[in-house]
Subunit: 213 residues, 2 copies
C-alpha cells in the first residue's frame, strides 16, 4: 500500500484475514466470483461493513459488482502485507514448536521459519522438524543474517519477557507471543498475543452468557 | 452473575481476561492492592475504559479506591464464568494436542481435559500425556458421560467441519477451533477461532503499518 492511502483499522484487518480464508475456500471449490453479500453471510457481519472493509483495497472495491475471487484475495494479501515473505524465528523447542513447524499454513502464507532456539542445553544441537536447535547466544547473529522480521515466543510464561527482550534487541519488529504473560516491549516492536487460556476463557464466557458464536 | 445484571460485551470480556493476567502476576509479586489506573497503564488502555469494564463486577467496582488484587481477580473469574470447572474434550492427537495437554494454564484455570479422540486408527489406543486416545465413534457417549461442555478442534482444516459437527451433535456448547477454517455451527454452539496464520498475518500487518504493539 502507498503510505498516503488510508490504512485499515485493526478490526478491519482482522476481518480481511477472515475474508481471505473464505475466498481461498471458495477458490478451492472452483468458485470464481463472490460478492460482498456472500462474504457478509459467510462471516455473519453486515454487508455495509464488508463493503467498508473492502474499500481499503482501492479500485478493487467496486460496489454492486461481483469480485473475482482471485483478484480480491490478492488485494487483501497486499493490504495485509502478506504478498511478501516474512522470515521468522521461533524460540522454545517444545511440543508447541513441533506443532508450529509442522503447520502447513505458515509456509503457505509466506511465514518462513528460519531459526529455532532454546535456552536448554539438552535441546541445543537437536534437530526438530528439519531445523537445528541453536542456543540463545546465537539469536542476535542469526536474526541479522537471516533478515528475520518476526519472532515467535513459545516458552513458559516465566521465561517469556526475557525471550521477548532478546528478540527485540536482536532487531525483530514483531513478536507472536504464546506465553500467558503480558509482555513489555519498546513501541517499535509490535506484539500479538495468542494466550490459549484467554481464548478458552472467552469461549467459556460466551457459553455461560448463552450467546451464539 | 445474576441473569438480570448487565453483561460485559465481548470486547470488555477480552479485556477482563487481560486484567486477570496482570492481577495474577502482581499477586505472585506479593502486591495486594491495585487501582484502575495501574491496570490502564499495564495494558495501554484508558483509565475510563478500565473503570467501565470493572463496573460489570458490581459492588467491587468502587471508583477511586484501590482494589484488593485477590478480590478483583475473584470478581473477574466469576464474571467470565471461570470460577467453575469446564470439562473439555480434545479432538486430534497430534503435536498441537501434546502441547495443549502439557500446558499448565488449562488445568490452572479450571479447563479439565477429560477425553482425547482421533480418527486415525493408528493413534487410537495410544496414550498421550496421560490420556488414552479414543476413536471418534466414542465421542458422543464420552462427551455425555463426562459432562463435557467444551470441545477443542486440533485437526487439519479439511477435517475441521466434520469434527465440529460431531462435537455439536455430541452436545458440547462451545468449540475452540485451531484449524484455519471457517466453521458453520448451530447458534447454540459458541465458537472461538485460534487461527495461527491469522495471528501471524495480523502481526505482519501491524509491522508493515509501522504501528506499535
Amino acid at each position: 500500500m502507498m503510505a498516503d492511502e488510508p490504512r485499515p483499522s485493526r478490526a478491519s484487518a482482522a476481518r480481511l484475514s477472515l475474508y481471505l480464508r473464505c475466498l481461498e475456500g471458495w477458490r478451492r471449490d472452483g468458485r470464481q466470483t463472490a460478492s460482498s453479500r456472500d462474504l457478509a453471510a459467510a462471516l455473519g457481519v453486515g454487508d455495509a461493513q464488508v463493503r467498508k472493509d473492502l474499500a481499503y483495497l482501492g479500485r478493487l472495491g467496486r460496489r454492486g459488482v461481483g469480485y473475482r475471487t482471485d483478484d480480491l484475495a490478492a488485494g487483501i494479501r497486499s493490504a495485509l502485507g502478506i504478498d511478501r515473505e516474512w522470515p521468522t524465528v521461533l524460540v522454545g523447542a517444545g511440543n508447541l514448536a513441533r506443532a508450529l513447524l509442522r503447520y502447513r499454513g505458515f509456509p503457505e502464507r509466506g511465514f518462513r521459519l528460519v531459526g529455532l532456539f532454546d535456552a536448554d542445553p539438552r535441546k541445543v544441537g537437536q534437530r526438530v522438524e528439519g531445523l537445528d536447535v541453536f542456543p540463545m547466544t546465537e539469536l542476535a547473529r542469526r536474526v541479522r543474517s537471516s533478515g528475520a522480521d518476526l519472532g515467535i515466543v513459545a516458552v513458559p510464561s516465566e521465561a517469556a519477557q526475557e525471550v521477548a527482550d532478546a528478540l527485540a534487541d536482536a532487531g525483530v519488529r514483531g513478536v507472536l507471543n504464546f506465553a500467558p504473560a503480558v509482555l513489555r516491549l519498546p513501541g517499535r516492536v509490535a506484539v500479538v498475543n495468542v494466550d490459549l487460556t484467554i481464548q478458552l476463557e472467552q469461549l467459556a464466557f460466551q457459553v455461560q452468557a448463552g450467546r451464539d458464536g
